[in-house]
Amino acid sequence: MSVTAKTTINIAREEISDSSRGYWREVFQRLRRDPVAMACGTLILLLLAAVIFAPWIGLQDPVTGSMIQRLKPVGTPGHVLGTDELGRDMLSRLVYGGRLTLMLGLLPVLFALVIGTALGVFAGYAGGIFNTVIMRVVDVFFAFPSILLAIAISGALGAGIVNSLVSLTIVFIPPITRVAESVTASVRSLEYVDAARISGAGPLTVVRVHVLGNVLSPIFVYATSLTSVSMILAAGLSFLGLGVRPPEPEWGLMLNTLRTAIYIDPLIAALPGVMIFLTSLCLNLLSDGLRSAMNVKD
């Protein structure tokens, strides 16, 4: 089947469009035609907006509650999503909790993206001994499951938000380095890099002009798919008491403290989990959509 598909593409490629568009515009156009990616993107944007503007949208205090109002079910007047085991408003806690959870999902990946891309592009372009050293170190990190690595580093550094950020960043540097190294190595072997070299450009210029532009999008797509993992790991760390500490709301931590309520009101106990699930699903689907939209030439 793939042979056939290739034939049709070859035919299609011979057609020449008269208008030429920039790469990113084309990616965006294609993304817009993907309903799943668009729906997921909208949901993520809504969530981000709610989280950012949480103090101004008339939510109740997420930290103080009333013991009389403990574990009210979903749909209680005044508490649309019920209350938790200490009588705090669930809606408010979920929104405020999203602040920390999303931050712990996005920031480590962002940091790791910068560091891992730099390491990987260097290893992939320079090759030789540099490549061997960097990639063998990366391999050592790969020997541990990521959750175990995160727990170990967090445990060593102690609980806390900053330490969670650091440990998660360290966890994500190796996979991003590895992806960056492999795409850079494959771009490095393409002839337009050779052509740039024989035009007398130095290695830094070649990397900046000809390599980065062509490796960033696959690395970026991969990183998008890591944000959901990061979020789940952050929640896991908090669940284990290694991340955010009570009474700060955070989805993983909420899941932990609501554990005891599971026999009284399973729906309430499941709500943070539902949020984690929905958000990571949306992030993954968005990442898939980006991947196919970025494949402009195919």
Partner: protein, 336 residues
């Protein structure tokens, strides 16, 4: 009718999707048993699509096919399930340009051939292995017993192509479809595979439809040549007729571009431009925009089809008589 093994008429293949591509347009083609026909054309001419349509390999969702295709009396367009599976392999088989992609990397060559034999004949495992061994010997693979246990990646390019031919011929099909099977091979290996195919064709008495872009290869392998351009056959005839009396300007352009007898350092009579995008059904001669002999009539309607001889046709207003400045037949340069 009865003498023709392959009978294609009015075949249209259209791909839908982001862009509509009219890959094959109103194609007529017939082939007698025991004949070797080459479809000669460039990329995007629809030659490979035609082969895949014959084997029903085109993705059904994005393709609409109309017209009739009959092979050995079987109506190919209506085949389903078991009948289709039997048709593929027993009646028709195919070899590809890249044997490395067409062979399964996780099974040995012997297992793959034996599996094909068992699938179509119900032979026992041992019998099927015997057939596989026999096939490897027939395609002149040295030390066939050991090669039977080799995986595709353990073989050289030429050996893999031979193994794929063995696999394709294991069930003795009446028709072999060959999609540029020698294009990826080195020159000295290509000629070996071409000669092997010619021998096997005689031995089995099968027909071959061979697709290539290389006129030289077409002359080496085929009895008849059909030249395809933009989804239609523009000229068809025996190999000698096409080489010695090319009447369609496109055929003549292809022959000149082969450079076989081009004078060194002379200016080549290149066909200008590139093939049309095939976004619409052609309503005039598709080659007209590139043709050095274009007339107003060429741009108004589809060209007439002249039949200057038995089983010979030219779809061009100039096709009635030989080209005025037809060159003498190219002479074979003696190897000193």
């Amino acid at each position: 009718m009865g003498e023709n093994l392959v009978e294609i008429s009015g075949l249209n293949v259209r791909f839908s999707g982001a862009r509509v591509v009219h890959a094959v347009n109103d194609l007529e083609l017939s082939l007698r048993a025991g004949e070797v026909l080459t479809i000669l054309g460039e990329s995007g001419s629809g030659k490979s699509v035609t082969l895949k349509a014959l084997l029903r390999l085109l993705p059904e969702k994005r393709t609409s096919i109309s017209g009739s295709m009959k092979v050995d009396g079987i109506d190919v367009t209506g085949l389903k399930g078991r009948a289709l599976a039997d048709y593929r392999g027993k009646t028709v088989s195919m070899i590809f340009q890249e044997p490395a992609l067409a062979l399964d990397p996780v099974y040995t060559i012997g297992d793959q051939i034996a599996e094909a034999v068992r699938c179509h004949t119900g032979a026992s495992r041992a019998q099927a292995m015997d057939v596989a061994l026999d096939m490897l010997k027939r395609v002149r693979i040295p030390s066939a017993e050991q090669r039977l246990r080799n995986y595709p990646h353990e073989m050289s390019g030429g050996m893999r192509q031979r193994a794929m031919i063995a696999l394709a011929l294991a069930c003795q099909p009446r028709l072999l479809l060959a999609d540029e099977p020698t294009t990826a091979l080195d020159a000295t290996v290509q000629i070996q595979v071409l000669l092997l195919l010619r021998e096997l064709q005689k031995e089995y008495g099968m027909s071959i439809i061979f697709v290539t872009h290389d006129i030289g290869v077409a002359v080496e392998i085929s009895d008849r040549i059909a030249v395809m351009y933009a989804g239609s056959i523009v000229e068809e005839g025996s190999a000698a007729e096409i080489i010695r009396d090319p009447r369609h300007p496109y055929t003549r352009g292809l022959l000149a571009a082969n450079l076989h007898d081009a004078e060194r350092g002379s200016r080549l009579e290149a066909i200008p431009g590139s093939p049309p995008p095939l976004a619409t059904v052609p309503d005039h001669c598709s080659f007209a925009p590139r043709c050095p002999h274009v007339k107003p009539a060429c741009l108004e309607a589809l060209p007439p089809v002249f039949r200057p001889g038995p089983r010979r046709r030219v779809a061009c207003v100039l096709g009635e008589r030989p080209f005025a400045t037809a060159r003498p037949a190219p002479l074979h340069e003696p190897a000193q």
